[in-house]
Symmetry: C2
Subunit: 766 residues, 2 copies
Amino acid sequence: MKMKQENYLLAAIAFMLVPLSAFGKTEEKRVTSYVNPFIGTGAVASSLSGNNYPGATVPFGMVQLSPDTSEAPDWGDASGYDYNKTKIYGFSHTRLSGTGAADLFDVLLMPTTNNEMSELHYHAPVMKTAYNASFSHEQESARPGYYQVKLLDTNINAELTASTRAGFHRYSFPEGAKHQLVFDLVHSRDKGGWGTRIINSQFKMVDEYSIQGYRVITGWAKLRKVYFYAQFSQPIRENVMTDGYTFYRNNSVVNGSHIRGVFEFDTQADAPLLVKLALSPVSVENAKENLEKEIPGWDFDATVAVAENTWEQELGKIKIEAEAIQKQIFYTALYHTFIQPNTLSDVNGEFMAADYSTRRLKQGVHYSTFSLWDTYRGAHPLYTLLQPERTGDFVNSMISQYETYGYLPIWQLWGQDNYCMIGNHSIPVIVDAVFKNAPGIDVEKAYEAVKQSSLIPHPGSPFTAWEQFKYMPENIQTQSVSITLEMAYDDWCVAQLAKKMGKEDDYKRFDARSQYYRNLYNPKSTFFQGKDDKGNWMEPFDPFKYGANGGYPFTEGNAWQYFWYVPQDVYGLINLVGGEEVFAKKLDDFFTLDHQGDLNHNASGFIGQYAHGNEPSHHAAYLYNYVGKPWKTQFYVSKILNEMYNNTSSGYAGNDDCGEMSAWYVFSAIGFYPVNPANGVYVIGSPLIENASITMPSGKTFIVRAKKSSPKDIYIQSVTLNGNKYEQTFIRHEDMMKGGVIEFEMGSEPSQWGAKKEGRPIDWGF
Amino acid sequence: MKMKQENYLLAAIAFMLVPLSAFGKTEEKRVTSYVNPFIGTGAVASSLSGNNYPGATVPFGMVQLSPDTSEAPDWGDASGYDYNKTKIYGFSHTRLSGTGAADLFDVLLMPTTNNEMSELHYHAPVMKTAYNASFSHEQESARPGYYQVKLLDTNINAELTASTRAGFHRYSFPEGAKHQLVFDLVHSRDKGGWGTRIINSQFKMVDEYSIQGYRVITGWAKLRKVYFYAQFSQPIRENVMTDGYTFYRNNSVVNGSHIRGVFEFDTQADAPLLVKLALSPVSVENAKENLEKEIPGWDFDATVAVAENTWEQELGKIKIEAEAIQKQIFYTALYHTFIQPNTLSDVNGEFMAADYSTRRLKQGVHYSTFSLWDTYRGAHPLYTLLQPERTGDFVNSMISQYETYGYLPIWQLWGQDNYCMIGNHSIPVIVDAVFKNAPGIDVEKAYEAVKQSSLIPHPGSPFTAWEQFKYMPENIQTQSVSITLEMAYDDWCVAQLAKKMGKEDDYKRFDARSQYYRNLYNPKSTFFQGKDDKGNWMEPFDPFKYGANGGYPFTEGNAWQYFWYVPQDVYGLINLVGGEEVFAKKLDDFFTLDHQGDLNHNASGFIGQYAHGNEPSHHAAYLYNYVGKPWKTQFYVSKILNEMYNNTSSGYAGNDDCGEMSAWYVFSAIGFYPVNPANGVYVIGSPLIENASITMPSGKTFIVRAKKSSPKDIYIQSVTLNGNKYEQTFIRHEDMMKGGVIEFEMGSEPSQWGAKKEGRPIDWGF
């Protein structure tokens, strides 16, 4: 979602980031060795990319320590890093991965050698507004939990690693050079947007080896209190600090809303300068405790090893056999899905709740960064599969917002809703987690949360109108077609949980609501269209015309892309439009009609009207299975896998959106995708990976094999499940939980496998 | 400080607010019966006034519940109320008393009868941006802890009272009328200033008798989290809430940054609607606990009685005999001094610290609202005398800021420094409290705090320059003359505490700094003047020219007014200027030179160059005692007491400044004033009150009698202390602590009492 439009096609000229030796099959190496954190970090020419970053983090970490290549990142480089830039402004400790909107970027550090501290005097021009240094990709490297770059202007080698709540920096200075470190609390997302403003911030010298402080900032996240505690391996000999134009020398504390500091260290020991810095959303004391618990010692390499081993363990939950480039794309995609949601509680369990109070968890971890409009589709189903423990915590973190804020998250950043996008897609995440038995969830409370969040009107969700009109009238709630379709899906999820819990009246109410999508179907146009509250169709109607984020019935898409969004009732949709052949023809048109009008910025990665660069299209290629033409699903899924992903800096066809684009790849490359993210069914596409082994939450292993004689073998010829012939174009979650082997015989020509009635995906898998 | 300039002289036409029957001596009535909360609430014509408010509070309360007479109060009505206005916009729960800058005004409630709730529909024009109702002073009344007004448009009688952390409202509706209540979380100081913005806010229906919520706001106080919990005596039958143009009907929760609600109550019981509402700076849970602990029941009148009795006890610490008008002015002044500092911790001891973290007190109360540039002069010395326990807590609250923020408060609002005005006048408050043995202070910690706050450069206090130049150069720190004079005084205070604690090196360092004032004395002009960092006098120099709050060496005053500010070394100043006669002549000129140039807005209440409406002049009339002319002190003190204070809405010659103008009156009316607020000496002026009895912190009673045969008896003829002839023009704090009687024989002609050398005030009283 949300990114300026560029032309994806130019990505084709992207140069390769991996050495040629990486080609050829490999089997023994650690899976982390295939992760290339530069994938998705920068569009080539004016193509789109993922808005990913190459810096150091552990899975689901609070601290994500990475270079910032602009002074004030914004839409185009929302993760702080753009592979095309040539200067680094420093290394900040928090960020988003793959979003269109930028925020965070807390506590920027930049080593330098040439600050003329002795010349600074009272109001004399004090400190460059921001430091930067040239860098080259030739002298830059990254792997999970580790990032390195040579700063060319100062000849400093910068290395970064991280634990969950702390960053660890190793700066190797040239011999004889000053050891200086810029601390920048001004650095943030561009202050021209979201009313971004630093409310207050502080540096405090604890002793010559330690600094603490904080900043309180309002931005995309309405209020963030970010406390830090930093320790150094060498003593500070001198400091200069500024608050705007006011200058302080060797001061022990500076408070202000525009503060930076330069710290000069003892250089007698000609060793690298090590910096450990932990964060907390609650207090400096908690930041200190986080640091002491997570990185008590000074062994940088050992911290790198811990981070890398953590990644190895997490990424190793899926083992694949494939060519190196495929492994790179696959494991980097999996890596990107595990960048977030982000830890937001301290080691002692304290966190800032959605009502801005400080609270303490009884158990588990509090998480945030829920880009739910994106991630409920593929990323959260993947977490439910690979991260069952964390899924319980994700759900409890969402319910925590419900308890203080009154309804579940829509887009939650740093514990607060920013209402980005539409729908209430915490609901499918929670319902899916409950049905798949993610641990630690109070199911009664979860049901209360999904039900109340579906009844209490709130921004984007005027449920009174929803039940009054049985569709969303555009003149009451804009983006009404997209909201109607997505809200009907969320309602279906509530209905399933109500049914499970024996709440029959609720089931009926929400089941009825899940059919409201029908009320915006216009048989004349054969599209879903906007209506006003009098029941009049909004005119004129153009199925190619895009909406953005308000003022039009469609959200970041057009009527073509939204037509397919009835995952809870695909067969109902097929009947609505006139049966299988009409539906199949419409799908054909969808994938072939080239007409492009006034595009939305988020639309990219086109195959006809299909736009893989944004989420509304993501399940569409799988829909051919529902009308007996699975080979077409196989064709388009294969096409997308091969054409919309690569291992370069522009490896994605659009923003990765907190791992959603990556999750689509991970699922589809293995061979299936959750068309309905909460019905316990994965729909089969065209497996790209020849051998994948998944560790299931049950502890058992589910193996997917796809026998191919050439990469052109994209079509399924036959399938066996645990040795038995398998004609269904889907797999139940419950069957995978039992462990076993599904084996695909692939070929280069379409086959009739799965085309019979009984092969079609079911509506409910539990 | 800080208020637009108006012409004070017009105040002379102020009409009287008290009935004529109030004239004549009284003795038996409760002291609270003399408090007229309307004094100082509104300038008459364009005169200045106190910026006080008439609403309900208990002494030093967190909740100060009072009508707001404008939609967005600002400089001219910084307390929210202006006696000249004719409309009330509602009753909000927090405010400042007597400041120039406005802030707070949290959770505005307004009863109404005519909201057309049934007409509201989705985006239809929803709710008036703000409600208001006409009122008349004829149907308005106030006494300590109680306020009442008839809302003329709706015929609702509104009554307010308060406990420390909760407001209690009683709304009597006309028979048969709807019982409606507007809750407004948008209402605040004018959003055009200080970047005022609501970051987020919430209404949540707890049950039909209770609402909770909060707002997080940035304004003059950088960040305030204000949680509330409200209970009603009647059940809510219907509600409508809005967030900007978005409308909600009977919703259980609304979050937003522009929210208001209208609640309609059951009217079957035709009783008044009672509302209890408590605040917390920490959480809704704490707000609820505050309410349950402070006002568990529903007896409005009993709550009024508790509030009034609390006031009776506090104000009764000084008992006076005087005419009713004098008592009104006196007890209202004393009342105004006890409005603040304000409680900022919850009943469970939790509070938001200066670093925005939540902390919990081990004991005592956390206070804020420290308008120190004003209040260190007279108000804090008065608290040290009358509020010894609270003085300990005030000091500990200031030290709490030091511990998290690195230095002591300059102007602290809602726990945060806003750096308003100059100097570091927590220091005299703390040093005075230590010398006068206020309880509960860790003296070592207090010393560390005053010392470090005098060494660590911070906004307005570039101590590196201070010690380098031994004056403040204007080109390094503007307002340099005022800062030099006030900083030298603060340094003198640090020196005295260093000496007491045996820290000889520190004593020498700060004692030397306390003499830096000399380095800005220009013998050619006989004034203190600004210098640059090269030692050049700033030219041209005009002793009549005013500075404001930056860009000129003087702060809210001119060189004439600042000349006298050497309270730590009056005899040094006398010698500097050329001896007693020159000094006395300069004082005469000061009080008689009428020339007025381009005035600062805060200058008002003139006697020559003396401006009683702002603080820099406040001690000047007492300086005649130091040069053997005590009858001139008596003349001018008496003149100020009689001419600059009255019992009308424009009863002050300028902003009351959190009780400072009031404290001057209380001290001076009894007969003395702390020229040096921290040296243990009160300098004798001209007692106005004929009989005053003060309960000292020692528990003993100190009585001041002034025998007069007519109001013209303003001159002291002779004095006895405990029956012994007393020729000194000052009283030691330690002598007052012993209890006793000082008796003044007054006459209508000047006498030579106290004129001898040995009669002059001493530098140090402990």
